[in-house]
């Protein structure tokens, strides 16, 4: 059957499934809208968290980034999984015990101040908006690449679907669609991976396959290191970044993960404290399936690519090469006009440009898998992008309707009024996200990784200290969050956008990249919070009792 038909079937079926679930799980109260009624099973919540967490970037781009970075790519693997340990051990159970709806709820109540609440709302909105624009863009790109509609139409279809189930079902609708989306995306990711692993190494488990040897008896990783040396790249299994920078980026991503509001809020949806711990464990297990497979795909496709193209005549390239050349993801310019493809680290002689996304997208074709697998991949990528977008949408809408409206501007608003406000806010947020998806501001790609730095430098210290110390007061927490987030924003605009005099790699403080600077800003937040708190009065007895209470199981 034609590839186009397969793709329409896969996408159509998965979308009708999401819509069906949305109709089945309409939200009737604010509690259902914000936290799905608080009765989600920990395994279901684990799956939903995993889908929420794994974005279009994890699904499409990560394996490719690792493929080009080799060891350097490890920062994403460790950074985007290690945060769950912090969540399960340090945050999730206590926030569940606290039992409100949002992250600003906790900050506002624990630090008994609407200033603290406003700062938290501000941080939640910045983090979520930088993130969601990238997701809508991802939806548009997948549509345009597979279904041959233009990006605008793709984004509009995506907006329509998310709008439907997020506005109708709130957190309840989102949770159960995310469970379905997890199943779709993990199946779509694993099928080609298992197939390719078997093809290259004879081992059906990709995690073991990439440590095995190919048909020629040489270990795959050794072969890849050799190929890299020959072509002038740094060795695949050793990195090009400094150890300090790798350390800081990993730390910023981990802590940022634990501080992201759309991840934290997922733990408000389970029934009890022990379920919050359990669902963090399940979430990481479900995430680990994809995250331990990605580096295997990276190695298979990297070896495959180099062996297929390096010093081979352009005329003899397989069919997929032409196809991806027309999309612009592959590019060849015959600089020395010998008809052969020279792929090297030296930019003056290199003739091949490869986009990182191709490693996952073109994989089924390179391995000559049947058409339905490619269709599955399209549905999987859409599931990854939509589920993350929906989770972020909920954070934005609850920040507006609950934290701003109910808690600060109109405390007397009725339950029904708040629910209407939440739905209007969700609609507004979808439209804004869609606008940015269609007209992406240049900074989106640069800032998604930095959203983690912002989350690390603002929320994490305030929440952690709020639970583990009774002495931290509002003066300390507010100044800490402000210092952390300002420092991070300053470093980001200075080195990413060239404001405040800009600067190059040589000017980085301590040689730490903007992606890793969240670690430093977080430390600054901790230091400021502790110093200011120790010099100002301790919180009242009520607050100390509140802390005592959330520590009890």
């Amino acid at each position: 059957m034609e590839l186009q038909y397969w793709i329409w079937i896969a996408v159509g079926l998965s979308f009708s499934l999401y819509i069906g679930i949305a109709i089945w799980s309409r939200a009737g109260s604010t509690k259902e809208f914000y936290v799905a009624g608080g009765g989600v099973h920990p395994i279901a919540n684990g799956m939903a968290t995993a889908a929420d967490w794994m974005s279009a970037a994890s699904f499409i781009s990560m394996a490719g980034i690792i493929s080009f970075g080799g060891y350097d790519g490890s920062v994403y693997l460790m950074g985007w999984t290690g945060g769950y340990v912090l969540l399960a051990l340090l945050l999730a159970p206590y926030l569940r015990k606290f039992g409100k709806f949002t992250v600003p709820d906790f900050i506002g109540d624990r630090y008994y101040s609407n200033t603290a609440r406003s700062v938290a709302v501000f941080c939640a909105l910045i983090v979520s908006f930088t993130y969601i624009a990238g997701q809508m863009r991802g939806v548009g790109v997948v549509f345009s690449r597979y279904l041959e509609v233009d990006i605008v139409t793709g984004v509009l279809i995506g907006m329509g679907i998310v709008l439907f189930y997020a506005v109708l079902g709130g957190m309840k609708g989102i949770t159960y669609t995310q469970v379905a989306q997890y199943c779709v995306l993990i199946f779509a990711f694993m099928v080609p991976a298992i197939y390719i692993s078997f093809l290259v190494t004879g081992n059906v488990i990709p995690q073991l396959g990439f440590g095995s040897s190919g048909a020629d008896g040489v270990y795959l990783l050794d072969k890849l290191d050799g190929l890299h040396r020959e072509l002038g790249f740094h060795e695949y299994t050793s990195g090009s970044k400094s150890m300090l920078d790798v350390f800081c980026i990993t730390m910023a991503l981990m802590v940022g993960t634990a501080g992201l509001p759309h991840v934290i809020v997922r733990f408000f949806t389970v029934k009890k404290v022990s379920d919050a711990r359990k669902s963090a464990g399940w979430a990481l297990l479900f995430i680990a399936i994809l995250y331990t497979t990605a580096p295997a795909i990276a190695v298979f496709s990297r070896t495959n690519l180099i062996e297929t193209v390096s010093n081979q005549p352009y005329e003899e390239m397989p069919e997929w090469f032409d196809k991806w050349e027309t999309t612009g993801l592959l590019g060849f310019t015959d600089k020395n006009e010998d008809g052969l493809i020279q792929y090297t680290a030296d930019t003056t002689t290199n003739e091949l440009t490869v986009d990182a996304d191709i490693m996952v997208l073109a994989n089924p074709e390179i391995a000559q898998l049947p058409n339905w697998v490619i269709a599955l991949l399209a549905a999987g990528a859409l599931a990854a992008a939509l589920s993350t977008a929906a989770g972020l949408l909920l954070v934005i809408s609850s920040a507006v309707s609950h934290d701003l409206l109910k808690k600060m501007v109109m405390p007397n608003i009725s339950e029904k009024g708040e629910l209407i406000a939440a739905r209007i806010a969700a609609t507004g947020a979808v439209c804004l996200a869609g606008y940015f998806g269609i007209n992406p501001p240049g900074f989106v790609a640069a800032t998604v990784a930095l959203a983690f730095g912002l989350a690390a430098s603002s929320f994490f210290p305030a929440i952690l200290l709020g639970i583990f110390s009774k002495r931290i007061n509002k003066e300390g927490a507010i100044s800490g969050m402000l210092v952390g987030v300002t420092l991070m924003l300053f470093y980001m605009v200075k080195f990413k956008f060239g404001w405040f005099g800009g600067g190059t790699k040589a000017d980085w403080w301590f040689g730490i990249s903007p992606e890793g600077f969240g670690s430093i800003a977080m430390i600054a937040n901790f230091v400021v919070t502790l110093i200011i708190s120790s010099r100002t009065p301790a919180p009242s007895k009520d607050i100390q009792d509140l802390v005592e209470n959330i520590r009890k199981p």
């Binding site: 790519g73 693997l77 399960a88 051990l89 270990y219 990783l221 981990m254 464990g281 520590r551």
Partner: protein, 78 residues
């Protein structure tokens, strides 16, 4: 009684977080060069920790904590 619960919890957290640090930052970053001299199958050990081992480690750490805390919660209820 309540205090021993919290103290035990802090104790579990400290031990497990040290393990968290060792499998990721220790084996995957700080001592990656040294571990890379050891090769198991096709994997250099440091590289394996950075791209696989640390993630498996994280899963084990969380499930250990779940197990320990469920036991602790039970003693609390009795």
């Amino acid at each position: 009684m309540k205090n021993t619960y919290w103290k035990k919890n802090i104790c579990y957290i400290s031990i497990l977080l040290s393990l968290w640090f060792i499998v990721s930052f220790g084996c995957g970053i700080l001592f990656v060069e040294q571990l890379n001299t050891i090769q198991i199958g096709g994997f250099k050990l440091g590289f394996w920790f950075a791209q696989q081992g640390s993630i498996f480690g994280f899963v084990v750490i969380i499930f250990t904590y779940i197990y320990l805390m469920n036991k602790l919660d039970q003693t609390q209820n009795n």
